[in-house]
């Protein structure tokens, strides 16, 4: 409790209104605005270009004019004609939600174990999680593909989801969060008669909610944008949005207009999600004091 309150106070003090006298000069602010503004525009420009291209008329697709004029929804019409956008959206959401939830859950359980207990082989096991970062996708790809085929889940969403249910990033980040959690609370719950399982759900999770939400959204975005693994598993059907892009790629070159339109539509949900939840994401992430 004290720790949490302390953190919140530290955050509040970090609010710009409470900074030393004389640190906020106009020139410093102007330089800051200029630098950050430039960087922001640079970062956002390709995204603008994506949408600009998707709004060009088919014959202007190769045009490099900065403004997409005249506007045309033809690419979107084409994309909608070819793709069952609603179905793809649903599939992608299901896939991304399952993956994000799975990674969150396995990460939470492992992080809880690492943060709340001392046990033999702890650091070695933690290393086992982190070391998965060292294993290239290429090494695991084929053996996993073969296993999925033996399980009979090729060409299903389950095949995409199964191998992605645990990620080192989730474990690492969540461990930081759970470790920052006051141990007294866990102990109080034990004394109050909760087992470790119900302590996790009645004490830890409710208090980590902002952090879990922030991380969950990050994982969701990652899963949403996953392309390689679905491309392998979902060979027969373009069942998720990112694979919809493949419908516009081919030996005879790419169909840029509908492809950009599809890409734009694929990005839109996460962009909107991010814009709506930005404060929560940033705060949840920052408050964890990831160090």
């Amino acid at each position: 409790m004290a720790v949490i309150a302390g953190r919140a106070a530290a955050l509040e003090r970090a609010a710009p209104a409470d900074e030393p006298v004389g640190t906020h000069s106009r020139t410093r602010a102007v330089v800051g605005h200029l630098a950050l503004g430039t960087l922001g525009v640079l970062c956002a420009f390709p995204i603008y270009w994506l949408y600009a291209t998707s709004l060009r008329a088919p014959q202007d697709i190769y045009s490099l004019a900065p403004l997409p004029w005249p506007l045309s929804a033809q690419s979107y019409v084409d994309a909608f004609r070819v793709l069952d956008v609603g179905g793809l959206l649903l599939n992608t959401t299901v896939m991304a939600v399952l993956i994000a939830l799975g990674q969150l859950l396995t990460g939470l359980l492992a992080a809880y174990a690492f943060a709340a207990w001392e046990f033999r082989g702890k650091s070695l096991l933690y290393l086992a999680f982190v070391a998965t970062w060292l294993v290239p996708f290429q090494v695991t790809m084929l053996p996993n593909y073969v296993l999925l085929s033996q399980l009979g889940v090729l060409n299903t969403i389950a095949g995409v989801v199964l191998p992605s249910l645990c990620t080192a990033l989730g474990v690492i980040l969540l461990r930081q969060h759970v470790q920052a959690f006051p141990t007294e609370l866990l102990e109080a719950a034990r004394l109050d008669g909760r087992g470790s399982w119900s302590t996790l759900w009645t004490v830890v999770v409710p208090n980590l909610r902002p952090a879990l939400a922030a991380l969950g959204i990050l994982l969701f975005v990652n899963a949403w944008n996953e392309y390689f693994w679905p491309a392998l598993v979902l060979q027969r059907s373009n069942a998720v949005l990112q694979l919809g892009l493949r419908s516009f790629m081919g030996t005879e070159g790419n169909d840029w207009g509908p492809m950009m339109a599809t890409a734009g539509m694929a990005c839109l949900p996460v962009l909107v999600l991010y814009l709506v939840l930005q404060r929560q994401i940033v705060n949840g992430f920052v408050r964890s004091g990831l160090k």
Binding site: A14, V31, P46, Q138, V139, C166, K291
Partner: protein, 311 residues
């Protein structure tokens, strides 16, 4: 005077069998929580890794119809004599070095600059910087292809150059670095923001009172205290650069021009899936794992010496 309460000191009896069992059961608990993650990783990461380790001692093209020929360390020997292997390592080093500005320098600069601007503006800038993370790499790559068009792409028009970014070795490597950097910048900015928020303002206040200029505060206080975050980012960059850049290389340059953007990760892919030399690919994978493992261990050891935790 209190009469002493005499305690008959008995020999402490050994714990009963059921108590021992219960104790053993309790010590199992953390492992149960780890189990789901470990089982999943065991199945989906370490099982393939072990298979790869075995495969690296065979010559085989993965086809059930062809026999696996044991060849000892021949795959490794071949790998080390291949000139591409050496150059690809060098290119990986360049890639990592090239990405460090995006994962460390710029995010720190953004973190420090963000303190100068107030209110909504900072939030908006952060949203803009973060946005590329939300774009699927494949879509992002497609857009960059346009922007990098040698004739009328926005980049050349702004810079007034005629470079063909994806067709000339140096610029192609640069383009891959920049685009990868563009993608991961937002995440790094978020991590740095978290790190900065974790440093008590009291230190900066104390230093200011002690007479340090803002520059000195940054150099002498903020950055050293941010070092654990920076090490985390460096570690991530070193370990994951090659993986981050993979989809972009695969979409934009296919490792070209003339192999100029082929890093170890892409080479591994190439051996494993284009050359059908599974043994060689496996050997490369094992070396990749071991090499990066050693580097990571060294980095972690180093970081313990150079970082300071604010406690």
């Amino acid at each position: 005077m209190d009469a002493p309460a005499p305690v008959a000191v008995r020999a402490v009896p050994p714990p009963s069998r059921s108590a021992r069992l219960r104790r053993a059961g309790r010590s199992l608990v953390p492992y149960l929580y780890l189990a789901p993650g470990l089982v999943l990783l065991g199945i989906w990461v370490y099982r393939p890794l072990v298979q790869t380790g075995q495969l690296s001692f065979f010559s085989w093209n993965l086809l059930p119809t062809t026999p696996m020929v044991p060849v000892g360390f021949e795959n490794y020997e071949r790998l080390f004599t291949l000139p591409e292997f050496g150059t690809s390592i060098w290119r990986t080093v360049v890639l990592v070095l090239g990405l460090l500005p995006f994962t460390v320098v710029v995010p720190v600069a953004v973190g420090l600059l963000a303190r100068r601007v107030r209110g909504r503006a900072a939030v908006i800038y952060q949203a803009l910087v973060f946005a590329p993370l939300l774009i699927a790499p494949v879509a992002g790559a497609a857009v960059w292809q346009w922007l990098l068009d040698p004739r009328s792409g926005a980049i050349n028009q702004v810079l007034g150059t005629t470079t063909n970014w994806l067709q000339e070795p140096g610029p192609a490597q640069l383009a891959i670095i920049v685009i990868t950097g563009w993608h991961v910048l937002g995440f790094a900015v978020l991590v740095v923001a978290a790190g900065l928020a974790g440093i008590s303002d009291d230190y900066a206040g104390a230093a200011a009172l002690d007479g340090a200029t803002p520059g000195q505060v940054t150099r002498w206080i903020t950055l050293p205290l941010l070092s654990p975050t920076l090490v985390f980012l460096v570690l991530m960059t070193v370990l994951l650069s090659a993986q981050w850049s993979f989809p972009l290389i695969d979409t934009l340059t296919n490792g070209g021009p003339a192999g100029a953007t082929t890093n170890v990760y892409y080479l591994l892919w190439d051996y494993g899936f284009h050359s059908f030399d599974a043994g060689l690919g496996a050997a490369a994978g094992v070396i990749f794992f071991a090499g990066f493992g050693v580097i990571a261990a060294a980095l972690v050891a180093l970081s313990d010496r150079v970082t300071f935790h604010d406690n």
